[in-house]
Every structure is written in C-alpha cells, then in structure tokens.
Symmetry: C2
Subunit: 519 residues, 2 copies
C-alpha cells in the first residue's frame, strides 16, 4: 500500500480517492468555500491549483469567483494565483500576497477582517454565509491523515479547520505525504453554539482539553486527494539594530516588573506576533536571565526552536507552526524532542479571551502607528489601504495581563529616511483603543501607560517613544491642543481635530511628516 493510502486508515474511504483535476466538477461560480490554513501553513494546495489551471485553460477568468473563508493567510502561490485569475470575490479574515493586496485595495476583492477568535466562532454561528443559512458549500482541508473511524488528523496548523470540517456540506481532504503525520500535536475542541457552550478548562499552558483528531461526518467527504507539496514556510531575516534595541527595552522592563513583584520570576505566558521585532524579543529571551518560560500564542516561528533548545522554554501552545522550510526540517529531524512541548489548538481556543485572560498572557504586537493617547492602528495605512488584517492582535492585547505594542519610531518615506513617524497625534485608523494598551515601545524607549490619564499618557509617549526629529512637532501639537481645549472646557483628551492629519497631508504632498508648525 502506498504511503498515501496508508494514511487513510478508514479503508472504506479509499474509494473517495481521486486526482486533483477530478475535483473541479464540485466547484461552481459563487460558492462559499471554507479552507484550512494559517500563516501560511496547513492550507490546501493541489486542489486550488488544479482549479486555477482549469480556469486558466478554459478562459474562465471572472466567471468562476468564490468566497474564501480561511483561518488566516495562505501561501502566495495559491492566494495570488487565484486573485490573478479573478477567482477571489470575498476573502476573510487576513491575506498576504501582492496581487490579493492590490485587489483588496482597488475594489476587486471584498475583504473583511475580524478578531480571529470571534471570526472562527461567528463562522460557526453562520454569520458570514447568512445567504445560504450558514456553513460552506465545500470545505477544503489539508490533513496529514484520516483515522480508523474517519476522523481527520490535521497538519501543521488548525486555525479554523475545525469549523470548516464541522460546518461544510461537502469536504475535500488533501492528504499531504510530503510531511510526516502530525498526530499527537493537536488538541481539538469543536465549536458549540450558545446556550450549550462549556468552560475551556485550561489553567496551565499545557493543559489538554480535547481530542487528537477532528471528528468528521465522513459521508460529507466527496474527495480525498494526495498532495506532495510541502508548506512554503516563512523565513525570517536576522534582527536589525532597531529591533534589538526595542527587544532590549522590553527585556529591561520585564526585569523591573519582576523586581517590583508584579511579575513572577518566570514571567507569564508569552504571546508574540510575527516579524523582526518579535523575533528579536525571543532572541533576547534565549540569551536573557529568565527561565522556565511558557508561550501561549498564535504562531510558533523558527526562533521558538532556539528558545526550546536553550532549555529556557518549557512549553508552547499555538494554532500554527509558522516555520521556514529549514525550520520544518529541524522539527521533523528532532520530532521526539519537540512533540511533547508543543500543542496546536483551534484558533477559537488559542485566541480566546477566556484562556488569555485566565493565564495572564503577556501580549506583544507590532502596529502601523500609534497616537499620543495610546490608540493603535494595525491594519490600514493612511486610514484606508489594507495591509494584511487585524489577525489575533486584538484578541491578545485586549485580554492580556500586560498589553505591549512595539514599533520602530520612524519609517523611511521615498525621500526621507525618517520621513514617517509611527507616533502620531491622531491615529488614522484605530484597531486597539486607549482602553486596551499598557505599554508602548520603540527603539527610543518604553512608555508605561498604566494608571495615567490621557494627558499624562501624551507626555509619556512623546517623551519615551517619539523619534528626536518628531518630539518638538508632537509636543507643539499637544501643548496647543491642551491650551485650546482647556480654555473651552473640552480638554480630557486634547486635540486640534481639524488639523489632526496635517502631518499625513505633508507626507502626501512633500514626502515627509516633518511639518514646520501647526498653523
């Protein structure tokens, strides 16, 4: 028996095996599709690409459009291929890819983003596909196997795969034989609808509350297809100097909090977002003074393997193994070493306020910009251009014991290496409010906002986080706003509302946010 067939342990399902091309007949223009996949791991590959080939060969661009509901991002070789062929109509709740991003912003693709924990739940509640009474026409799931009773053994991510399996009319399963079986890594909990929901009895990061496999009505499975395409993975460059300085500010802060008795010596479970700064923070922890650490997060990146190897990280819970190709090799080659220390959960559990608040997670994420009162923009450049989506940042930041956002204080514009300040008077878009965030950090310093009123926060943020080139500009904004608003008795959070975006206007016209004055 082939490796592929041996992965389908329920033999009666062998008759559902077919080639990817043969699944094309299941798809019809306008369908609602649920896919597995998260940051881009565990997404279906051969079936979407076969469908894309079919559309291309038959010149069906624009005549085969679908609504895609996935956990988060998928590989660009699928995402952008579909977008290029005009196959993507709605797209929830997160995307990465040049073509898809362009289409989200030129009106071709109807994208929506929602806190990931709510998204997974609301999928199950039928909110996104109300037209058809909830659920999906077809669910497309990458798996690493099927058990004797027809349950699904997922692959390198869970995301919303559980809800996709639960709420799809038909299921197409891709068994990926280019990766080993991930059996043993998952802790599966299916969504119950209220009033029948039960507590998630997680009091420690490594508490298991579910099953290893996803229960599945196997009558819904219309096709099982072999995939030999490994996840593309997400490589990360080495941290730059700015990231290292931000990480250093955060690690110093952790030390101070432990000294003050507000954090235990082994800190609290850590969540860190994706990208260079998160990477640098984990790098700092690998070499830092803290031990017996735990991670409760959304994605596990390559540096987590170093973190495990350092002996300082005890356990990590996430919804996706967002590793690079060499990172996956390292995982596979040391499977026994890592497997007992890693738990993958559905995103409606990994990102759920319930365990995040109970465990007292320390959340760390990168915004596009934040303002002097502590509102942060994670999604829309200039208030209108979508980058990727809100992801889980709000799930974690709103519910953490310590909510931290970190960013370089400036970014380059086309003509000025510090032409864009990430500390602004008024955020052009708000994803995280002043009521959500405790700590803001740049390479310049760390602002501790806890217990401060808005006016104190403004002084602290400008003083600690702003780049020296922008401190005078931001200070002038604040002081003029304060004077004017106090005089009118409207100064709880002073603003010059009608001039609030003057720096952004200057960027648009002069290529830099360095304005001369606020007149």
């Amino acid at each position: 028996m082939s490796e592929f067939l041996s992965r389908i342990r329920k033999k009666s399902l062998h008759k559902k095996v077919m080639e990817a091309e043969d699944t094309v007949r299941f798809f019809k223009n306008g369908m609602d599709l649920g896919w597995s996949g998260f940051t881009p791991v565990g997404y279906p590959k051969v079936v979407p690409l076969a469908l894309a080939d079919y559309v291309e060969k038959n010149n069906l661009q624009g005549q085969m459009r679908f609504n895609l509901f996935i956990g988060a991002s998928i590989g660009q070789e699928v995402e952008d291929r579909w977008a290029s062929l005009q196959m993507t109509d709605k797209r929830w709740p997160y995307q990465t890819g040049k073509v898809i991003q362009k289409q989200v912003n030129d009106g071709t693709v109807r994208m929506g983003d929602k806190h990931l924990s709510l998204y997974a739940q609301d999928l199950g509640y039928g909110y996104y596909t109300k037209g058809r009474g909830g659920g999906f026409d077809i669910g497309l799931v990458e798996a690493s196997g099927i058990t004797e009773d027809g349950s699904i053994i997922l692959a390198g991510s869970i995301g919303a795969a559980t809800e996709v399996i639960q709420f799809s009319d038909k299921l197409i399963i891709e068994i990926n034989t280019a990766i080993p079986s991930f059996e043993g890594l998952h802790d599966v909990v299916m969504l119950e609808k209220p009033p029948h929901r039960k507590p998630y009895l997680i009091s420690r990061v490594d508490d298991r509350i579910g099953t290893l496999h996803v229960p599945c009505d196997h009558d819904k499975i219309v096709a099982i297809v072999e995939s030999r395409k490994p996840d593309k993975g997400r490589p990360l460059g080495p941290p730059d100097e700015t990231s290292e300085r931000i990480a250093s500010n955060i690690l110093d802060f952790f030390g101070d909090e432990v000294k003050a008795g507000r954090l235990p010596a082994n800190l609290l479970p850590l969540q860190s977002g994706v990208g260079n700064i998160a990477n640098a923070v984990v790098g700092g922890l690998v070499n830092g003074p803290f031990a017996n650490l735990k991670v409760w997060t959304e994605v596990i990146q390559d540096t987590m393997l170093d973190f495990f190897d350092s002996g300082k990280l005890e356990v990590a819970s996430a919804t996706s193994l967002s590793l690079s190709e060499p990172g996956f090799e390292r995982l596979y080659n040391n499977w026994d070493k890592y497997v007992d220390k890693v738990i993958l959960r559905p995103m409606q559990v990994s990102n759920n306020p319930e365990p995040i608040r109970r465990l007292g997670v320390i959340a760390m994420n990168t915004p596009v910009e934040f303002d002097i009162y502590g509102h942060a923009n994670s999604t829309l450049v200039g208030g209108s251009r979508m980058i990727n989506g809100i992801g889980g940042s709000g799930d974690f930041l709103r519910n953490a014991a310590l909510s931290i956002m970190h960013t370089p204080s400036t970014r380059p514009s086309k003509t000025d290496p510090t032409g864009i300040t990430c500390v602004v008077p008024f955020a052009t878009h708000v994803d995280h409010t002043e009521h959500d965030l405790d700590i803001l950090v740049t390479e310049q310093g760390l602002a501790d906002l806890r217990g401060l009123c808005p006016r104190e926060r403004a002084r602290e943020i400008i003083d600690k986080c702003a780049h020296p080139d922008y401190k005078p500009i931001l200070t002038e904004y604040y002081e003029r706003a304060e004077k004017d608003c106090f005089a009118r008795g409207i100064g709880h959070e002073p603003h010059m509302l009608f001039k609030a975006f003057k720096m952004q206007e200057s960027l648009a016209t002069d290529g830099t946010m360095k304005i001369k004055n606020w007149d």
Copy 2:
C-alpha cells in the same frame, strides 16, 4: 442592641465602631483610596461627607487631594461635593456629576477609563497604584452587615468592592441601616493573580460559583460607621418615540434571527446599557413574543422589575441594582419574589469576557456616534470632551454573540433640531472598532454588518441608519472617497482623510453638520 450593632455579628468588631467625624484622622493628602459603589449604588456616604465637611470648615481646599478608584459612578452629592472642594485628583474609571465632569475637562481632575472588567483586574494586579506597590491606603466600603467571622455582607452593588477589600491596607466600613440586609444576593469571587487563576464555572446565568460574603482580614478594619443615607438611585423617564422605534427595530430583528435559526426561541442572555433606549427595549420585551428570557448584564434598572413581573424574565445577573428610590421600595416590599431571581457578582466576573462569550450574550449599548464603517465613539464628544467613561460597553460588545449599538440618528444642536448626525464619515474617537460590532440601529432602521466588507458596510449604514437630511451628504462623502481611493489603489476602506471632519468643523462654526458639499 441597636439595629446597627446587630448587623455586626462578629462582636469583637464592636470596638471599632465610631462616628464618621472620627475617621477624618485616617486620611492624609495624596492617599490612594479604593471605594465600593457602582452606578450610583452601594457607595460610601457618611465618611466621605464628614471628610468634606472637615475640609470645608478648615479651608483645606486643594490641600487634601485624593486618588479615587471606584467601581463606576457614585452619587453626585458625594462626587460633586468632593470635586467642588478640590478633593479629587485622580478619578478612575467612570463618573457622573456636573462639577466632576467640568473638572475632568478643564484639567483639574486626572481621569482615566478602562474596560471595567480589565480595570477591576488591573487594580488587583497593582497597575494603578504602582507608586506604592499596588493596593490602596484606605478602602471605604458600604456594607449591609458583617458576619460572625468578620466577612463583609455587601449592599446593593459589588463592582470592585471585592478588590478594594482585598487590596487595601486599612478598611473603613459603613453599615447602612437605612436599607435591609442584602445577604443572599451576592455571589462573591475574589481575584486571583496569574498563574493561579481558575476557570469561572458559569454555564448558565444563574450558576453560583462563589460565596455569599466577602472574606476579609478584619485586622485591617480601622473603623465601622453607621450610615442612614439610602442610595439616591437613578430614576428613568418614560421612553420617547425615537427610543420606541429603535426598540421596535431591534425586536423585529430578534424575530428574524429566531426564524433563521440563528437564535433560540428564548433568545440568548441579554445585556442592555443604561438610558432611554435600553429602557424601551426592555419595555418592548415585556410586551413582546419572547418568553423564558435571561439577563446577563452590568446593572439592573427599574424596568427589569416589570420584566420579572411579566413572567417572561427568569433570572438576572449583574453587578449593581441601579434602581430608583421607588424601585428600591418595590424590591424591598417584594423581597422574596425577586431574591431568588437576582444574582450580584463582582464586576470582574459580570463583565468578564469568559462568561460573556460562553453564554453568548446579546449586547446592546448606546454610543455618542458611529461612522460609516462601523467604528463607535462611546466617550468623547468631538474627540476630546469626556462625558462619563467607557464603562462596560467594550467588555460586552467585544465578546457578545451579537453586538448591537443603538442611537437616535440625529441630535439637536443649539440652532438646528437635527443639527448633529450620529452617523458620521469618521468617528472623532474610537472606543469600539469595526472588528467589534455586528448591528447598528437608529430609529431609521437596522444595519446588519455581519459578513460585509467595509465598502458594503458604508452603503448599508448610510442606507439603513442615517437621517434623510444626512443621507445625501454621507453618500457624497463615500462616493468621492471611493473614487479617489480606488484610483490610487488605497480603497479597502475609502476615506478623504484631510476632509474627514468637515461636518464637525461646520458644527463648530455654523451650528449644524449639514454641509453644502465636500469641496
């Protein structure tokens, strides 16, 4: 034995009894004080007023200033008296009162607001009084009695009284003999700090998980004072026509959701905010088709008593009995009828994402304004003038199964009866993001935002919610923004950022938001 002494069942504490005036010596300028009290019920009265008398008589205005950490609002006779005597420095996290509001907005009082569930938790984590290592110098708590073992029997609210008792160095207890003992109404859970927090095992609204009394280290009690001042309460006028129409839109929507199978026939546990619209919604339910209903909310208002009397409401859980004086009379006169159906919980439980999400609460709250993409402002008029504070609106809206905000479509300006539109292009302040809200309602109609991308939301909100006078203005804004942003490939959420507040500018200069065009 007097009624007062008989309420102090631990006899060894009788020696702590003193007159309110005698507690003045415990207070020193600059102290951090924790108080019981919530919307304005269960707050200390005689001790704060005795201290105010002392300050006034001795001309100590501005020389006796305190940082006040309370659950939410307290009676204006205390709040405004303290503010008038310049006794309030910091004030968290919510206030009502003309004098305090003025001082919050002219720079005299340093107020901060935070989601109430986070606030109570962060109080316990020591975030607001970092300077002294967390906790309070003195905790001031209104109680209805003390048990044989020195535990506290709270009064008509819990709020953050549990954290105040837990984390204060000294405690002063006011036993209110003008009200009956509230023993039996409370379900007390004390705050544990991570990593030692445990699940709140609430799967039904009436699940009890705690104790009737607040455990208390009675060595911390330095004074016990009798109070004979009943809560002032909060009277509510009859609903107006606009509120009735909003309520009717919401009830129709509930009916449709039940028909579609997305809500059970007895709906899901209801949370409703304070004020006229909330009142009208409850009024609608009293006369409506739904039965066997449950309420999981923050405050219980007078109309809830009608709701119980209708036989349609089974049980209500909250953190405060925010009744009017006649409402309290009605409660006291029918104690046995209501007592088994009402549970009071600490605000870090009533407002906690954990039970709210699990129970699938339907959340309904009133904003100052919302914008065409579904961001809502609950706190700051014109982006800078504080009204009361965010309260629990974010706790409920972010975690509900259905998140609903309701407001009249317009409010009067000084010169124009519809001079202010509550549906704006760009919210002047964001407390609730586009990722948080499902449904927006005005007397004009109901916008169902679930599953819509931002551009679809804009069309839906303008169409369903905006006042006819403002529909053309908002439509022109949206269409010009869309055209411009699509052309530049930045149109996921189209805005004319540099003109976004033109309607507010018009209000400031011309007394109405009805602008002629967007040039």
